[in-house]
Every structure is written in C-alpha cells, then in structure tokens.
C-alpha cells in the first residue's frame, strides 16, 4: 500500500511538473510574440538566452498557493506584504536591457519572491540581492537555496547604500522605483555598467528606466515602455 501511495505521488508530481512545463512554454510563446512586436518597433528585444532562462525558472515555486493557478500568466501576482511577483514580460525585458554576460556580477535591490534573482542567476556569474522586508528576505533565501541557486547571495537590509564589499557591479537591478536613484548605487556601478529600474506602482509598471554609466562616468538614462507601441496622436 505504501509503495502504491509513493508511486501515485511520484506520478502525480510528474504530471504536475509536465503541466507546469507546458504552461511555462505557453508563457514563453506569449513573450516571444511581444518580443517580435518590440523588434518591429525598433526598441527593446528578447534574446534566446533570456527566453531560455525564463523557461527554466519555476515561477510556480515562487508564488503563494492561492496564486498557483495563475503562476504562468503574464501578469503580476500578489505575494503578500504589499508586494508582487513581477509580470514575466517586465522581468524578461529588464533582464534583456542590462545585457547580462556569463561573467557578470549583478546587484539586485528588492529580492521580493526571488524570481528576478533566479532568472538573473541562470545568466550571470553571481547575483547579490538585498531585501528590506524580513519575512520576504527569509522566504526568498530558503526558496532560492532549495531551488539550487547557489550563485545568489541574499541579505536583509537597506539597499540605499548598495553592497560595498562586492562592488563594483556590472549591472544593478532595482525592483521598485524610489523618489530618486541613490547616489551610492551609481557609484557602485562599473564604468560601462547598466542599471534598470521599473517605474510605476505595484501591478502598474509604467516604464523601465535604463541608466548607463559611460566609461568616463557620465550618466545617461533611457526610458522604455508601452509608449513605443502607442502613437500619441492620431485617429482614435
């Protein structure tokens, strides 16, 4: 009887895993459609490497049980504590825009569910991530460990001053915009490095702010968003 139960559990797990693989692939297909649109409009793009990473990370292991049925929907989901797991399209775009390389060291401000850190970990050498909400920091640390992401280091604390011991960084991902970009983060960015910040409220990302520190230390920003798809004037 025990053997039968174990077999049933294994089969059920396998079926579940397959189910998630299928829905995850559907999500990737959806992202590819958007990526194609983005290419047509000469703005951002989604590379195969980023799409592969998105297709590898198990988003369903990062959402609360109540949100499991929607785990692979291309939308933000509540994860408690007033926070959300970001919309997959936004995560993919943010990852793409910082042009990750295999030997990059990336700083993330705002670990949240750990989803963005996991996607980055698939692509870069090491991810350092800081979270200010204790419950989320503890949860994400355990979750990322259990999922085998040993190239992600997390800690609880103030992201304003970055993580000096591991600076400078090839890229910095700030997962929620504050009233200004902290000067210490700009300092900890390597010359030629990129910083990405989603601008807008929870559930409502408006634009992505991409900050580039040129080789001579000058700061230039670019903003990307749905605006590129909307001709601002014209026939309604």
């Amino acid at each position: 009887m025990k053997i039968l139960t174990c077999l049933l559990l294994i089969v059920s797990f396998a079926v579940q895993a397959d189910d998630y693989a299928a829905v995850r692939q559907s999500m990737i297909d959806e992202l590819q459609v958007y990526a194609k649109l983005a290419r047509d409009t000469d703005a951002s793009r989604l590379s195969d490497a980023v799409l592969r990473a998105m297709n590898t990370v198990e988003r369903h292991r990062m959402v609360p049980a109540s949100q499991l049925p929607f785990a692979y929907e291309n939308r933000p989901l509540p994860i408690g504590h007033g926070q959300t797991i970001s919309q997959p399209y936004i995560v993919a775009l943010m990852t793409e825009l910082i042009e990750p390389d295999a030997d990059d060291v990336v700083l993330e401000i705002g670990t949240g569910s750990g989803y963005q850190a996991a996607v980055l970990a698939e692509l870069v050498e090491h991810v350092y991530s800081i979270e200010i909400i204790e419950a989320l920091a503890t949860q994400a640390k355990h979750r990322l460990e259990s999922m085998g992401y040993d190239n992600v280091t997390t800690r609880l604390g103030d992201g304003y001053f970055g993580w000096d011991e591991h600076a400078p960084f090839d890229a910095i991902v700030v997962t929620a915009a504050a009233s200004h970009v902290p000067p210490p983060l700009i300092e900890q960015l390597k010359p030629g490095g990129l910083m990405i910040i989603p601008v807008g409220g929870r559930f409502m990302t408006q634009t992505l702010l991409l900050l580039e520190k040129t080789d001579d230390g000058e700061i230039i920003t670019r903003q990307y968003g749905a605006v590129r798809f909307v001709p601002l004037t014209g026939k309604h």
Partner: protein
Amino acid sequence: MRSVYPATLLVSAGAIGYELLLMRVLSIVQWHHFAYMIISLALLGYGASGTLIALNRHRLEKRFETAFALSALLFSITMVLCFILSQRVPFNALEIVWNPRQFLHLSLLYLLFMVPFLFAASCIGLAFTCRRLAISRIYFFDLIGAGLGALLIIGALFVLIPQNALILLMVLPLMASFVVAKEATARTALFAAQFVWLGLFLTGIPQTHLDLRISEYKGLSQSLEVVDSRVLHESSSPLGLISIVESPTVPVRHAPGLSFNTRHIPPEQLQVFTDADGMSAITRFGGDPLSIAYLGDVTAALPYALLDAPRVLVLGAGGGNDVLLALYHGAIAVDAVELNPQMSELVADTYAEFAGHIYADERVRLFTREARGFVAQSPDAYGLIHIGLLDSFGASGAGVQSLNESYIYTVEAMRDYLAHTAPGGMIAITRWLKLPPRDSLKLIATARLALVAEGVDEPAAHLAMIRSWNTSTLLIRSTAFTVDDIAAIRSFSRSRSFDTVWLPGMRGDDANRFNRLVEPYFYEGATALLGDGADEYMASYKFHIEPASDNRPYYFHFFKWTTLPEVFALRRMGGAGLIEWGYLILVATLLQAAIAGLFLILLPLLSARRDWPRGTGARMGGYFLLLGFAFLFIEMAFIQKFILFLSHPLYSIAVVLSSFLVFAGVGSAWSDTAAALLKARGHEPIPIAASCIAVLAVVYVIILPIAFDRFIGSSDILKIVITNVLIAPLAFTMGMPFPLGLKRVAAFAPHFIPWAWGINGFASVVSAVLATLLAIQFGFNAVIVLALVLYGTAALLISRGFPARA
C-alpha cells in the same frame, strides 16, 4: 406615538453620520473616489426599503412600533457588523485591470454597505407610511436629524478615530430602538435583544474587530513592512488621518527629482502619510545648510537660479520641505500655507526640533488655510509662488487620483497666482513625470490658457519647463523670460543633467539629451501646445490633456474612452500603468448601481397591483425617473462645485448634502400651500416650479464663481452660513415637483405610488455616480444644464401626459 419623533431624529442622524464616516474610512483603507459610491448605496438602501414597505404596508402598519424598533436595532447592529465584514473583503483596487474577481469584491462591498441604510430607511419609511397624520412633524425631525448627524460626525472626527466615531454612531439608532420599543407589542423580546447587543459591546468583543485594514498596497502599509519601521504619531480629523513613520534601520530618503550628478545625500527623514498614502517627509535640519545641500540639485530648485532672495509663497507646505528649499536658497520671506491644522502642528510643534524649528524662523509665516482662498484674499505680491509635489509617486502613477477634484491646477487658479506675483516674479509647479506625457502637458496647456486670459500675446515666451527622469518643473511668468534667464535655466539644467522640455527659442536638438526617450515626446508636445495647432493636437492626443478649469477641475484625469481598447491590449506588454483604474471603478460602480437598483427596487414591485389607466404608466414613470436624475445631478454638481469654497470634499458633502435635504424637505412640506396659491391665480404649479429651478440654477452658474471669489477667505462658520443661504432657495424649489407629482398620481392612480417612489429611487441611485462621470467628461455646468432639460421634459410630461383627476 410621541416617541417616533426623537427616534426618527436619532436614526436620521445615525444614517447621515454613517454615510460620512464610511467616506472617511474608505478614503483611509482604500482611496477617495469611493465617496460617490457611498452616496449611491445609501440611496439604494432607501429605495429598496421603500419597495419593501410598499409591498408589506398592511402587515407593518399593525406592528409599527415593533417594526420600527427592530429596524433601528438592526441598523445599529449592521452598522458595526457590515463595517467589520467589509474589512474582510479582499478587494484590491489596483488589481482590477488584471483580475475580474475584483469586480465581484467591489459589488460585495457595495451590497454590504447598503444593508445598514436599508434598515435606517425602513425606520423613516415606516414612520411616514404608518403615521401619515403626523407626516410633516416626522419630516421635520428627519431633516433636523440629518443636519445634526452631519455636524455630529464632523465634530466627532476631530476628537475620535473613525472606529470610535462608529461606536458613537451605533448608539444613536440603539437609543431610537429603545425609545420606540416601550410602546411595541414585542417589547420584551426587543429589550432583550437591545441588552444583548449592548452587553456584547460592553464586553469589548466587537471593538477588537474594528481595526482598519488598510490596503497593503498603500504607502503606509508598505512602509510598515520595512524592518524596524513604526508609527511614531497618528492624528485624525475630517481632513485626513496623518501618520508619522520612523524607519531607523532603513531610513527613508525622499528627494524627488534629485540629479544623478549630486554628491549630496538627503539627511534622516520622517515619513508623513495622509490617509495612509500620499507620502511626504519631514527632513531633519540642525541648522547646517550643507546637510540639506541636496536641495540645490532637484528640479524644484530651478526658480532660485533666476531669483535673488525672493519673497516666496509655498502652497501646500505639508512636512515643510518646500519651506526648507526656499530658506536654503536664501528667500527673504516665506509664507507657508497648509490646509490641515494637524499637519501644521506636527512641523511647528511636535517635531519642531527635528525639523529645525523652520516655522519659528523669523522669515517664515505659517498660515493654516486653504490655498485658493488664501491667494484670493492675500494683499501681498510674491517673487515666487511655489507648488511642490502634493501627492505620492505611486498614487500619481497608478491613476489613483483620476477622480479627485483639484482646484489648485486650474486655469482660474493660475490666473489668481499670476495676479499675485511681483514684477519679475513667477510661479513654479513641480509634478511627477509620466510617460507617455500627461501631467506635464496638461500643465502647459493650462498655463497657456491662463496667460492668454491675462492678455499675454505670446505665452510661449512666458513659460519654461525642465525634467529629470521622474519630475518636471514648470515656470510661468507674467513678463517674458529674458536672454539671461534662459541662459541661467540652461546652465542649471545642464550641470545637473536635467533636460529642457520647453524654453523660449529652444531648438529640437536641445531636447532629449540626458534622460533620453525613444522620441522627444515632451518637447514635441510642448511645441504643439504652444503653437497654432494646440486645439487639434489636444483633440488628437491619446490622453485627455485639455486644461483643467474650476468647472472641470479634474487635473489628474487623462482617460479617453477611445484609447481604452488600445491601452487595455497593451497591459500585458507593460501598458497597465496607462489604464486609470479609478475611472474604471467609477464605471463599474455605475453598472452595479443600475443592476442593484433594478433588482432591489424595481423588480420586487412587479408583485404589486398595477391597475392604473392604460397609457399613463410610461409617462408617469418617465416623470419620476427624470426628476430623480435631475435632482441628483444638481445636488452632485453642487457638492463638487462647493469643494472649492469649503476646502475639502468631506466638508462639501456634509454641508451641501444636509442643506439640500433640509431645504428640499421644507419645500416639499410647503408644496401644497404653494400649489394652492398658484392655482388660485390660474397657474400650473409644476411648470412654474421647473421654471424657477431653471432660473435659479442658471443664475447660480453665473454668480457662484463671483460669490466664491468674494467670500472664499472668510471663516469656516461664515462659509457654511453662506452655503446654506445660497442653496436654500434652489433646494426649496427642487423639493416641490416630486410631492406635487405624487399628489396628482394619487388622485387617479394610487397604485402607481410605490412605483413612483421606486422609479425615483432607482434614478437617484444611478445618478449619484452618473453625475460624477458626466462632470468629469463635460464639466459641472453641463451637468446642471442637463438637469434643467430633464426638469423641463418632466414638466412637459406631467402637463400633457396624464389627467389631474381620474
């Protein structure tokens, strides 16, 4: 029998008090725009109870006291119970564009809050129905109760937190129930139930469930999630719940529009939340200017690059940061205007030491006044009139404020400000930046119109705007900017990597240098708005950027129906921020009001007798439907118009609503006498009443701006008296067409009376929300004109449609 009078007064006071309290509570736990939903659902409660009573009149008449006392007791219980249950509904307004279940949660809230009003209205309706001989006295006590209830709750909210104000309110119907139960047949059971309910309260059990569950996505909730954060201070008033939050481990550093090039980090700050959102900050200042040197590197510092030791007026002083900005830049004098006295007290007293005693500085004068009123009455002229960021970035970005009336950013406001600038002086307005551009362009369009109205031929020469990645600052001046001014603006912007949006004589290649967009959207927009084709540009723009005016003060409203399909399709591609959910909630509220009104008011009436003369039903129904719409359209438009005069939406709702209730009630009571007098002279009373309403409303559209301008700086008491005096004649006349029509119906089709009430109630429920939607789209004056057309059509229907007698 006599007990019905004080009982009616108590129930009526409880109902209006509860209505206003719910508006306050929903502003805290959710956002401001649920106020109109509350008016609608209160009316739904009244409409549904009218139907219930009409269908069960004979049974209820026999047990009037018992039914009344039971309804009052249930009103008291559901007031608390529905409040507690509503806090458990997982409604998340921000998720509404993603999750259709949120619409169900919204409907559940709507129906839950309706229940207490159903019982309150049952008491009043029973009194009217079962004590017909004393109807005028009951009406009198009902209206006095409404007036007292509004006063009571406004006063209570100054000294009590909303949960305690609720306990105070729930005692009123409980007392009413007790008073009437003495004469009831089932008095023993009623007394027992009252004592159980009272006893439950004395145990303190319900109170433990009364805590406000603030949306976890509001700024205060999010701040308190941060490790070691705590609320240091909380004060509540009808103007808002102010919370001061300290976060020692992860201190907040609020510096909107700070340059990337700065070497200065903001010092320690305390977060200030109003109604759990709209974060501002109190900055620690020990007297060393170097500690606040970051203030030289924000876009809001731009005017100080052009002005030497100006006299500054700060509108919306809040936590005092803009005052600090002025002092840091050497202002010779600063007048700080703040509406909320509790906010002023925090900076001037409670946290004075933390804030560096800025309000004790001999250069600073603090005025606890409403901004428009202060400017209108001020004899002074200023080198700089400064309007900083009065809202939080999150709120601005998510369309939270799309329904807020804001009289600070209107054409009329800017003309007032321009009239109070000294020679060479200017207005500086800083706003959060949105992409695609919305706020910034609407501000340019508004400033342009104000300058043109002030007789400026070339407004483009009087405007300058710069932007960082998240803020823009606009300068407006009566005189044109000089070559030196333009050079100073360029130098200020370039050294801080800010982009110029508009400068007189600016070239296209000057735009979009540091904070690069795919296209130079802001410059293109500014150029179009300041050129000859401004109107065509605004008409073809995907968002609403037409200037805000006192007639349509929805500065934060950018929604265009025609753009909805396009942006809705983009929500999965990062376009969710383009959808103004505040507006969508209002539309959803309208739909649910219509559906609930249909099911709870009209459909149950199908079981009643319908034997009125053939061919008259549609016309009679039309008459009462149009009256319902017309009355509420005028009432709602006046509530929104008077926000400017009475400084705050809650004050306006309390004063205007109770004023309309009282004077319309008096008009209704006097309608028989008036009709008799008119008929004696050969006139038909209803067309005369409709004509009087039309004349008065048109006169008010013309004279209200003048009256507001003249008295806006007066004391609150005087303004309340003036409001009542202004509303009295109009409301008095508006109170007549309904009872006059009812009387005519009673003469030849008595079975239509419940339908008349029901149809009128249904129209009221829907129009409380519809009026706001129309006002946003077309302005208050258009809503009033539409109401007059409806009154006229109603008068035509009744004069031609059905006979005076059977």
